[in-house]
């Protein structure tokens, strides 16, 4: 075994030294036109591979298979210490030259089997990108063990792999890509002591996945969770490919692929006019691969013809268009633009942008921005036509929206294939303007249905649209791409996907009612929803202190109870389908349950409607959620991302117009619930400090945790009991000026740095109640102070404004009405859930769709199609989130509620047959 591995190692070194000597850019990078392109591609790949890893300044980084250091340069900017290891001596020679100025980079010559001389636990982050993908499985397995060894506890491994149909590749092949099944990979990672953090499709500006061969490029993030690995390298390899890799039958396995790639490259170089390198590459192909079985004589002839032709032409690259011609082109394009999209034309500058570069190709000019080539570098039109064919425009699509215009080649190609209306979103003004200067868009612009630059219209990507994302543009402008995807997949997902969504509430606390609002809003959006109400367990949970005096023991027992409730969630997942689990903050769920659910493909979501600085559960729970939504922005989002969740998004709380509404109250109710001034909420420190001085005002306080002493004894109502939402809505309605002071456990009054908004802000507005709220950073984003509500910044400001508005009821009414209109328009839970689902669907659309397509309901619904009423019943049961069986189809048939249809009678007939047979079996067995 040892000598076998040694042979493999020697072969890897020999093969890669040979390739690097020939052309390091071609064999090790996709940006192989020049070194500049190579570094740009390295920066791009590094950004994708290492996204979300924060606080790297004092960390150590290792890249396994660093090649010539394409990604190391970017890493050296982020990390304190950077190691690169590679088996190819030739590659390392280049890397030393390239990275000589990067003092924190250390290059190591690898033996192809281990990570010697690195010490155990010495590395914080390991990356392997486009390297272990071509190694034999036994080498890959060995490296997984080694990476585990050198990683520190909780260290992160980012790994690029290919998943899909397992490839039969010879063990001695050092070039072919290895493709593993997701299941085998997961098992291998587990054996190696890693825990999966996320697994995403790798999207690059060119095709890296192949639907035809069922190969998908993936980026995987893993975390080291155990210190020891019991599995041997062989066991790990057997787990990755249970049948083992095949024995080689030829002298140099993989040579045919290498030969073929070299020929293709030679052809490309020849066509580009780089005839000398084309000849070198042709020679490389011929010298090194005599044993191939492919008959490529025709190809060879064509390459030689091209080389000779180009040499006769002088071999020079076509010169860029003359500036005068560009000016004419710009004018023609601008006229066409003004005719069709005058508002876009009005925004166009008449100065040619310099931030975008242009290169000529034989099929037209190609644009480059930030080193990123925005069309195919040599054959933009041919590549665009291939892309258009594979873009698969469906027949029932009303319109196509393309993200990215660049040189417009792909739009031209789409128009050749379809008459479906096309609109375009180009995120970059400079790219668009450069295209106007350099590319002939006069044939495209008049045919476009829509064109937006730097932004987009929601209806362009709404229902009925097909969104086509140009990978090059996504890479260049990922933020807008994310927004577009959210809107597109949100609309598409909400109308076409029907995942079973479970909303898990907390046992008690202020988040409890939000659970209900969330579930109801999802139902309003026609989603399949089940809310798990954990509040019935609150009694037992709270009673623990009556049994155990020691607080630590109490907490220990509460943890046990949480575990039991978490297991209950798992049982419920066994009972009924679960595709998405939305946990509200403080929901009783454990890491183990979340891990198990994720293994089953359930998307885990946390809506953390708490102050992240005060409640810290996210610190250890973050890696177990696919999505976390927070009520705080940048710092909070970054902190949670650093804790291990890559998808963290801002989503404030809201109102439920079905609960939080204006109401007519009787005199008795007004008497009980009303007051000139009221406050509803718990007695936090800053509230006590502030409100103690308002005891001379007609002020009622409602809520828990208030002191029983003076002056609160006369202000706090109904012994400070907990109120139901329906009750505090009455208070809001019966009060002239509702005070809303956000809680703080440290400040004495208004928190000067307070950012997020409590639910009360939205609920008061929705009730059409006048509120006086403390100033908050995020408030201007959601309400207009002075118009939709009124703010205060201190105790004195509060008193002054309260007195003023008590005396100006008409002003109060106008403001409250405007506040309600705004709340209903922008801040309902339904809106929030739309946003949440849009985010989830924008990255999980295919995952959910695949689950749905594979779900038993799919087949059942298909089979039910010939029976209209049965189909309708199936659809209703499906949307309710039920299992595909008989019981949900009959559960809502009620005798005596009108004539039963024939379908209902038949279903009841079946139901009672089953019941009778079960009864008879019980009778026979004497039960």
């Amino acid at each position: 075994m040892g000598s076998d591995n040694q042979k493999i190692s020697e072969r890897m070194r020999a093969d890669w030294d040979r390739r690097v000597s020939h052309d390091y850019r071609f064999w090790m990078s996709d940006g192989y036109e020049d070194d500049h392109s190579m570094w740009a591609s390295g920066a791009r790949d590094y950004a994708i591979a290492c996204s979300g890893i924060a606080d790297t300044k004092h960390k150590t980084y290792l890249e396994v298979g660093c090649g010539v250091g394409r990604l190391l340069r970017s890493a050296s900017k982020d990390y304190e210490k950077v190691y690169g290891i590679d088996i190819s001596q030739e590659a390392l020679k280049h890397a030393e030259r390239f990275l000589a100025s990067e003092k924190n980079v250390e290059l190591l010559a690898g033996d192809g089997l281990s990570l010697k001389p690195l010490e155990d636990g010495s590395i914080d982050v390991v990356l392997s990108f486009a390297a272990l993908t071509s190694t034999p499985v036994i080498v890959f397995a060995g490296y997984l063990r080694e990476i585990h060894r050198v990683l520190a506890s909780d260290g992160i491994l980012r790994l690029q792999v290919y998943t899909g149909t397992e490839q039969k590749v010879s063990a001695e092949d050092t070039l072919h890509l290895r493709c593993y099944t997701e299941e085998n990979l997961s098992k291998a990672f587990e054996l190696c002591g890693f825990e999966l953090q996320w697994n995403r499709e790798l999207v690059l500006p060119f095709e890296v996945s192949s639907k035809e061969f069922n190969i998908e490029a993936r980026m995987i993030s893993l975390r080291k969770v155990s210190d020891a690995i019991s599995a041997s390298t062989k066991e790990i390899a057997d787990t990755l490919i249970p049948g083992g890799e095949g024995e080689t039958t030829i002298d140099v396995s993989g040579c045919e692929l290498e030969y073929w790639m070299a020929l293709q490259y030679a052809q490309e170089l020849a066509e580009r006019g780089d005839t000398s390198r084309a000849r070198e590459t042709l020679e490389y192909a011929l010298t090194h691969h005599k044993s191939t079985t492919i008959d490529v004589r025709d190809v060879m002839d064509r390459i030689i013809d091209t080389i000779e032709r180009k040499e006769q032409e002088g071999g020079s690259t076509a010169a860029p268009s003359a500036p005068t011609r560009r000016g004419e082109l710009f004018e023609r394009n601008l006229r066409a633009l003004s005719d069709t999209f005058p508002e876009v034309a009005a925004q166009v500058s008449r100065t040619e942008p310099q931030s975008v570069e242009v290169k000529e190709s034989e099929e037209g000019v190609v644009l480059f921005a930030e080193g990123q080539c925005l069309d195919h570098p040599t054959k933009p039109l041919s590549a665009a036509r291939r892309w258009a064919k594979s873009a698969l425009i469906k027949d029932d699509v009303e319109r196509v929206c393309v993200y990215g215009l660049a040189g417009g080649y792909h739009i031209e190609a789409l128009f050749e294939l379809t008459s479906t209306p096309i609109s375009v979103i180009e995120p970059r003004q400079d790219v668009f303007e450069k295209a106007l200067w350099c590319c002939d868009l006069t044939a495209i612009l008049p045919r476009l249905q829509g064109l937006t630059i730097g932004n987009f219209k929601r209806d362009e990507v709404g229902a009925g649209s097909e969104l086509l994302l140009r990978p090059q543009t996504v890479t260049l402008s990922p933020e807008l791409a994310q927004e577009v995807k959210s809107v597109y997949y949100g609309a598409k997902g909400i109308s076409s996907l029907h995942p079973s969504i479970t909303v898990l509430g907390p046992i008690s606390g202020g988040t409890l009612p939000i659970t209900g609002y969330t579930a109801r809003s999802l139902t309003d959006l026609q989603q399949r929803v089940r809310a798990i109400d954990m509040s019935p367990f609150a009694g037992g949970y709270n009673a623990l202190e009556g049994y155990v005096a020691d607080e630590m023991r109490q907490n220990f027992m509460r943890g046990k109870l949480t575990e039991a409730l978490s297991d209950l969630v798992l049982e419920m997942a066994n009972d009924k389908p679960m595709d998405i689990l939305i946990c509200m903050a403080q929901a009783p769920i454990t890491i183990e349950t979340l891990t198990e659910l994720r293994k089953r493909g359930v998307i885990t979501v946390l809506w953390f409607v708490e102050d992240y600085l005060r409640f810290h559960t996210w610190k250890y729970m973050a890696p177990y959620y696919d999505f976390i939504f927070t009520i705080q922005k940048t710092d909070c989002i970054n902190a949670i991302k650093s804790a291990g969740c890559s998808e963290v998004h801002y989503l404030p709380t809201a109102c439920d117009p079905g609960i939080h509404l204006p109401m007519e109250l009787s005199e008795e109710e007004k008497q009980r619930w009303g007051s000139p001034l009221s406050f509803v909420g718990a007695g936090y420190h800053n509230r006590q400090q502030t409100f103690a001085s308002l005891s001379d005002l007609p002020f009622k306080i409602w809520g828990t945790e208030w002191p029983e002493c003076k002056p609160f004894d006369r202000m706090v109502q109904e012994k400070g009991r907990r109120l139901a939402p329906e009750e505090y809505v009455k208070i809001f309605n019966a009060t002239d000026v509702n005070i809303n002071l956000h809680s703080s456990t440290e400040r004495d009054g208004v928190d000067p740095y307070g950012d997020f908004l409590n639910p009360r802000t939205f609920e008061l507005a929705s009730c059409g109640a006048f509120q006086l709220v403390d100033e908050r950073t995020y408030l201007p984003d959601v309400f207009e102070a002075g118009k939709e509500l009124v703010t205060f910044n201190s105790r004195n400001d509060l008193v002054e404004k309260a007195m003023y508005y008590l005396e100006h009821p008409l002003e109060r009414e106008t403001i409250a009405r405007a506040g309600r209109e705004r709340a209903l328009r922008d801040h309902t839970y339904t809106k929030r859930m739309e946003e949440m689902l849009s985010v989830i669907y924008s990255s999980k659309y295919e995952h959910i769709k695949r689950r749905q397509d594979q779900s038993p309901w799919k087949k059942m619904l298909k089979r039910a199609e010939p029976h209209a009423e049965l189909l309708e019943r199936c659809e209703i049961a499906f949307k309710r989130g039920e299992e595909p069986k008989l019981d949900p189809l009959v559960s809502d048939i009620v005798s005596g509620e009108g004539k039963l249809s024939e379908t209902e009678q038949k279903l009841l007939f079946l139901y009672h047959i089953r019941k009778q047979m079960i009864r008879m079996r019980h009778e026979e067995s004497g039960k």
Partner: protein, 553 residues
Amino acid sequence: MKKRHPHKQNVLLVNITRLGDMLQATPTIAGMKMENPDCKITVLVEKQFEAVCHTIPNIDDVVAIDLGMTVRSLAREQEGVIDAYEYITEFVEDLRSRNFDYVLNMSSSAYTALLLNLLGIPNKGGWSSDDEGYRMIESEWAQLFATSVFHQNRQYNSLNLVDVFRCSADVDLHPQQLLINVTPDNTEYVEKMLQAAPFTNDGPLVVVQAGASQAKRQWAPINFIRFIKLLVEESNCRVVLSGTKKELQIIEPIVAGVNSPNVFVAAGQTNIPQLAALLKMSELLVTGDTGPMHMSVAVGTPVVSMFLASAFGFETGPYSEGNIVLQPVIGCGPCNPNKACFRPDCHTHISPEMLAELTIRRLQGDFTSLPEGYADPGRVIIYRTFFDENGFYDLMPLNTEYDSSYMKYREAYRMLWLDELGGFKQEKKKSAESRPTSKLQVIQETHSGFQGIEQVESVADEAHAAVSELQELIKDVSAPATRLGEMSNKLGELDRQIEEIGFHYPHLGPLTRMFVFAKENISGSDAYELASQMSSIYSTLKTRCEKLQRYYS
């Protein structure tokens, strides 16, 4: 006899799940043919009984429903549910295409009731459902069936369900036994089978059906061992143990315990027609209340039968004359068929010795009396089966004249239903047969009487008057709607009172239950017509109260 649908041309008989039920329907089937010779009779049975139906006389066609497959399809869930749905759709279409003019369903199961409504056959008997899914029991005889099997009422019924079933289908003429054909090839098969038996005795051939359908009705193997030993060792009998393969686990220990060449195991070697042939060849069957018991009387072989646990001889006893029925006397028996029993004390009320003695006695010939003090009637009543003057099955106690405090009620109800539902004139018998035999019984009878019946009568009177008032209000277009509502509520309350009296006085249970069923069957949309139906029901109740008191006294 009163009849609802005397003429029948194309009849569907729904009798799906039990062999015993099928056999118990044979007098009805035969009677229908006797009364309507040109009528075509189709039976609907579960697939496993399809073959057996071809051995039952007078059946023209058999439709089978595969319940096992349907339930398996449903258990597969997903597409299995659609498979089951499509199967049922096809099945219903097939039945509809046969254009039946009359259907009788004597199964109380909800699914057969739904099926009847789905089929839309114009004339119905037995359990059905209305368009809204409510249960309906067509015909008073079928309501009596439902009333009698209602557990709390069982002891007050002496009408065999075969007769009630028959009358539900308006069948008067009928053979006084169940029917099944025995074919020569099956006889030949059994003869060959028995030739292999190493019998050394040459006495009577007795079949023993040891297995029972329910665990609580299973007499202990040790009892069977003692019983069979007495037959083979002291009476020269040849014993054949019948049963299914599954029942071998009961039979094998018995065979091992008896350890005699005169015990032959036929269990697992015969299908149903072959078992019929075996029973026909034998001289007697000893059994519990089982399918083979019905089969035995159908081939004319007498039975000695133990009615243990929930089994009740009056209800489902062997339907032919001259059979012996043993009914343990115990406070909890006959028990609820749907409840398990973990200490079946009733089993000890029949001893192997007594059973053997009765078996030998019956082998010697039919008998109508037993020697004085033969068996303690406080532990077991030994009955002989017979038919009364109207052709209805009945049981005659042989070891006592007075079987229990229920006896008088049973007789009174029997007379009431034969009179009211059948139109058979009833003469009050001398009370000699109903003489109490113990002081306790005297006290019980004196104190119970027909207590509560006056209350029923009085409420019925009040309700009748209320309906009359309601009818007046309906006729009066100016009557306020609130008044109509009040009357309706009042009637609802009175109905509830009647039902509650029935719960309070168990002996009134059958009377009030019949009333409830009658109310459930009120149908139509015309208010006056509905009130008329109600009026008639209260009148009937009042009449029945009067008659019941008369027949009881």
